[in-house]
Symmetry: C2
DNA sequence: CTTGAAGACTTCAGACCTAAACTTCGAAGC
DNA sequence: GCTTCGAAGTTTAGGTCTGAAGTCTTCAAG
């Protein structure tokens, strides 16, 4: 079976980077009292994500868009009918500031990926919609990502995939549930 | 037991963001032929990483440095005696361009976190070293991260942590082994 | 000894982000 | 109806990254 990962990953973060094992050993050397088990999970998570983002970037580049732009298209599609969102919503979903969203929408409108119009019922609001071309690029990007992701998980059995998904979901819940009514104990940090 | 995650995560990417379950359902709605099992793993990975980076950012901010700067300190410490690396090496390890590394080192030298000197045996090379203060900030950041990470994995048993680490390592291997002698089939993408 | 080529780092221009100030519209109080 | 406040977007200033061009050093060949 041919791998799609191989060409995508060629010469990625480059050599000279220590392997995960080397890094864990170095941590033990420099700081006793670190749980290698925890360290392995956290480091692997971080590395995996970096590699995956590089791969996604190469794929979206083939479509002539950036990873960031694909994320906007994705948010619009996942919003469902009528595939409309305001700049503020988009900013929250993508985790960036409203100012950044304004600029990004500017570019994407110029490229014909999305539309921007005023909401006539409430003229403070702006409505961003997806164009035919934007939808097509989203779909093509998703197809490529699907192949890559299937390849990535190739070595895992169905049971292992389910287990991995469940464990990750539990971690995520641990982190996402910790979102009280905003301003909870955040002040502790100020 | 008191959670350190709670205050760190308060009001993180904000509301209005769909939950993981909602997102997976939306994917099924908009694109048949997507494996929900794969989608769950990939989406959870991506979300977890985003949340964790936000948390790390808040912690390093307490030290008066950025996440990016902490990564440089980490690379220097993990390099081992004599805690020296060139800008090029650092750039490769952190996955950014040499140009960015130059600027980042500029700032960190100005802040007293690292030193920069010419290698007298080969005057093309530059040697970046860590200062006392840099090392102290690295250590303090690591301590905070350790608490956070232990808290994150709190709900997992020892066996589950080991299993999760093993599964992630296998995914990582699948991606990192795909680094042939540079230039392999990368040309396919040009 | 000089010359050419390759390597390591820096400089420069452009892209994209954040934080903060500003603009505009809508809703509540008097 | 006028005023004030808050919400939603945009504008502006400043910071960090990328990609390309430039500088300096070393090494090997003539």
């Amino acid at each position: 079976m041919v791998s799609v990962i191989l060409p995508l990953m060629a010469d990625t973060p480059g050599p000279a980077e220590p392997s995960l094992e080397e890094q864990i050993a170095a941590y033990q050397r420099e700081f006793q009292g670190l749980d290698p088990q925890v360290e392995r999970v956290v480091s692997a998570l971080s590395r995996l994500n970096r590699r995956m983002n590089v791969a996604y970037g190469r794929q979206t580049a083939e479509l002539g868009i950036s990873n960031a732009e694909w994320e906007v298209l994705k948010a619009l599609v996942l919003a469902g009918e009528p595939y409309h969102l305001g700049p503020g919503d988009l900013a929250k979903r993508l985790g960036l500031t409203p100012a950044a969203m304004t600029h990004r929408i500017d570019r994407m409108v110029a490229e014909g990926l999305v539309t921007r119009e005023r909401d006539e019922t409430n003229r403070v609001r702006v409505i961003v919609g997806i164009t035919e071309e934007g939808r097509a690029k989203w779909l093509e990007g998703l197809r490529m990502a699907t192949v890559f992701e299937g390849d990535l998980l190739q070595d895992l059995s169905t049971a292992e995939r389910a287990l991995l998904g469940e464990l990750l979901t539990r971690l995520l819940r641990r982190v996402e549930d910790a979102q009280p009514d905003a301003g909870g104990r955040l002040s502790d940090l100020d």
